[in-house]
């Protein structure tokens, strides 16, 4: 899980072009949206693209993964649970 969390931090910074954010400084449990990392709605859509491209997870209803976008930890748990076995391995 810890490896996946660190990997997600790097991928989030790259996918969202967060030039002034160091992945290592993203708190695992800090909010991704609003306070914390301060992501917006477009970033949320971009995260669904990341999930599809990197982990083969297709999100048909973005509202359904609201809880998964709470923090890097919840996102990692979502990936671990929903990624196809060959991708998650």
């Amino acid at each position: 899980m810890e490896t996946l969390i660190e990997q997600l931090k790097v991928q989030i910074v790259e996918q969202l072009n967060l030039v002034d954010v160091n992945p290592a400084e993203i708190g695992t449990d800090e909010p991704l949206f609003g306070e914390g990392l301060g992501l917006d709605s477009i970033d949320g859509l971009e995260l669904t693209v990341l999930l599809n491209q990197q982990y083969g997870i297709k999100v048909s209803n973005p509202a359904s993964i609201r809880e998964a976008f709470a923090s890097v930890r919840t996102l990692a748990e979502f990936v671990q649970k929903n990624a196809p076995a060959e991708v998650a391995a």
Binding site: L16, N17, L18, G38, I42, D43, L45, E46, V49, Q53
Partner: protein, 212 residues
């Protein structure tokens, strides 16, 4: 009603001029718009995390507008945000983002797609400078100060604004340039008449510098 240009910013070929003074000159390949924008942002000491999420056209607009609202007569600063207007023009619309989006149609990026309209510049500038009034963007074949001046002056005459951010922002694979200027109705010691001829003069007065 007489209107006046309070201050302006001109950007082209890696050079930024504010009211005629060079404030930044890019060292390196001036045609590399991304590198120029990043270096100019850092040199200006800006801290605006949204900047790097924007497409090059919007980043060019944000850079050109920095410092303008606080300059001149102060009318922009004291105006009710709904009395702050913005009137822009450009030639190649949002071609850089359009092409980037086209190239990624197999898996399109929402963050790219939202910039496939040139009027997104108005949105980004409005967020940055709390502009809540009238706004328009004209796509024309070439720099068109007559349209820009006439439209802005109509806004003032109709009481729809008390300060207006105006100008020309264009970025294509071949070139980029910006001229942004702040207009209001208060003459100052350094203001210039807001007329098409004066706007064109500002636009052209630095051409020899850029092409020397």
């Amino acid at each position: 009603m007489k209107t006046y240009i309070q201050s302006y910013c001109r950007i082209q070929d890696g050079v930024i001029l504010r009211d005629g003074e060079v404030v930044y000159e890019h060292i390196g390949e001036t045609a590399d718009l991304d590198a120029f924008l990043t270096a100019a942002y850092q040199q200006a000491g800006l801290s605006y995390s949204k900047f790097f999420k924007m497409d090059p056209l919007c980043r060019l607009a944000i850079l050109a507008a920095e410092g303008l609202p606080g300059s001149g007569s102060g009318a922009f600063e004291t105006a009710d945000p709904v009395q702050r207007a913005i009137v822009l023009g450009n030639r190649t619309s949002s071609i850089l983002s359009d092409r980037r989006h086209q190239a990624s149609l197999d898996c399109p990026s929402p963050a790219v797609f939202v910039y496939t309209l040139p009027s997104i510049m108005i949105g980004e500038l409005s967020i940055r400078h709390n502009i809540q009034g009238e706004n328009s963007l004209f796509v024309t074949e070439s720099f068109d100060p007559e349209t820009l001046a006439a439209y802005a002056d109509d806004l003032f005459a109709d009481g729809l604004c008390s300060a207006c951010l105006c100008g020309w922002i264009d970025a294509s694979p071949e070139s980029y340039e910006a001229l942004l200027y702040l207009v209001d109705t208060t003459p100052t010691a350094v203001s210039r008449p807001h007329t098409p001829d004066e706007i064109r003069a500002i636009y052209e007065e630095h051409q020899p510098y850029f092409y020397s």
